[in-house]
Symmetry: C2
Subunit: 294 residues, 2 copies
Amino acid sequence: MRIVGIDLGGTNLRAAAFDGELKIAEHRELVGEPRDPESIADRIARVAGQLGAEALGIGIAAMLRDDRGTVATSPHLRWRDVAFGELLAARLPSLPIGIYNDVNAITWGEVSAGAARGCRDVLAVYVGTGIGAGVVANGELVTGASHTAGELGHTKVAWGDDAAPCACGQRGCLEAYLGGSYLERRYGIASDVDAAAAAGDPRALEAWTELATLFAIALGNALAVLNPERLVVGGGVLAHCPTLVELTAAALEIAAPRASLEPLAVVAAELGDDAGLVGAARLVSRNLRRRPYT
Amino acid sequence: MRIVGIDLGGTNLRAAAFDGELKIAEHRELVGEPRDPESIADRIARVAGQLGAEALGIGIAAMLRDDRGTVATSPHLRWRDVAFGELLAARLPSLPIGIYNDVNAITWGEVSAGAARGCRDVLAVYVGTGIGAGVVANGELVTGASHTAGELGHTKVAWGDDAAPCACGQRGCLEAYLGGSYLERRYGIASDVDAAAAAGDPRALEAWTELATLFAIALGNALAVLNPERLVVGGGVLAHCPTLVELTAAALEIAAPRASLEPLAVVAAELGDDAGLVGAARLVSRNLRRRPYT
């Protein structure tokens, strides 16, 4: 069966067709304009047709409202309250379709075919412009009661009047310290600071140590609650900041309960840009096996 | 089928026989001495026999190592590395037996028959001498990779040299502030401070506001990651400190992401001392339905 996975972000619309574990075709186009839901649904239907999809999994940079692909909000696409699943179903009436949050699709990609292959309990954390996380427990994605599980970026690592304001309207969120946009505003280009810290520059080292502590506290607290066997770390900021990752791993030793660290391996994400495509395709094919499409 | 649930703590060994949802008999004895594993296994086997058990679920105040009832450590029972499941199976060879961490059994009691009945995603937090939590995601107990999920008491709410030392050997754990033994050492009898705070005593109010903030931060961070629909709160400290609970609920409004609060109801545990018995019985009966005993 030919499963097509799609990764719909704010910039790129990427797609790949899979036959089992084999990628047999891929496609990429810019999202560009217009990016209204109807236009994007038209384009996804065309791509799915071109790639010969017999089932379609889509990871989308959006907060979802249900498991039928209703988008509550997507700042990247500038969508709000869009019945995207219905728009697609109207265009592809006979096709099994699954629509997932992009971070969940990426996480599932790493769990099914990447850095956490074969693991039952996983926390995957991505630090880029924003911070997203995916949770897998008992071998299942944890989406939560309203599809907002994994909001590690908005766990609080500071409180009171000094806590940094976050775009979400609250204060002290991890993202307001470690998210790429905040980080560069405060310290300059992250990879430069990272190189300076590696070279022993005291100011860079101080900044990075403080940041690594906050990151380790947030991670350690999630590990204490979830007790995963694998912590997958990825995303642009971490990819360009090996020193920050190293300092965080060291800080984790005192931030996380010892019992949580015992079974844990901290690993880098493996699938890069393909993770979302692979994950979305695997999720829809998994759901098909469980609940055959009728 | 007659299912017996047992709650084995440091002080009491409690048991109840259930026929479906109906409690048809109960039993309580002090653990006392000797409390070595062989003696306790003998006594549980006798109680199970007296109550006519056709299946046996046990919630035990211990950190487990696997799902066959191997106890890694139980400070309450003074056990370490005990193959308790094997000891019981040798005495009750034909009986289906399930052995669970006590907080998980209690949590499952509230989820199957108490304050979180019918809920798919739940966080249950108990504050007594220590702090324990149970996590249910996608309708399943989350035990984690090494049976230590739910360690909310050892999430960090302070760090650096000022952070309070915890009996676990680390610093800044929630338990080192809010756990009953720490709390009374620092402030005196918790229920007295709570009454004073309710009456407007400034010192009590200041202490309670600080504590409520730390508790809300820890809770809010877990809610951000898990996105449950129900937060169950219970345990002796909270039962005797309504003002502290009220202040915590208020602090949660700014500590937890708004999206996590939207679907959430905060509720008091309903089953009290019965929760562990009910939960252990329901867990073993649920596992029987899934994996018939052979």
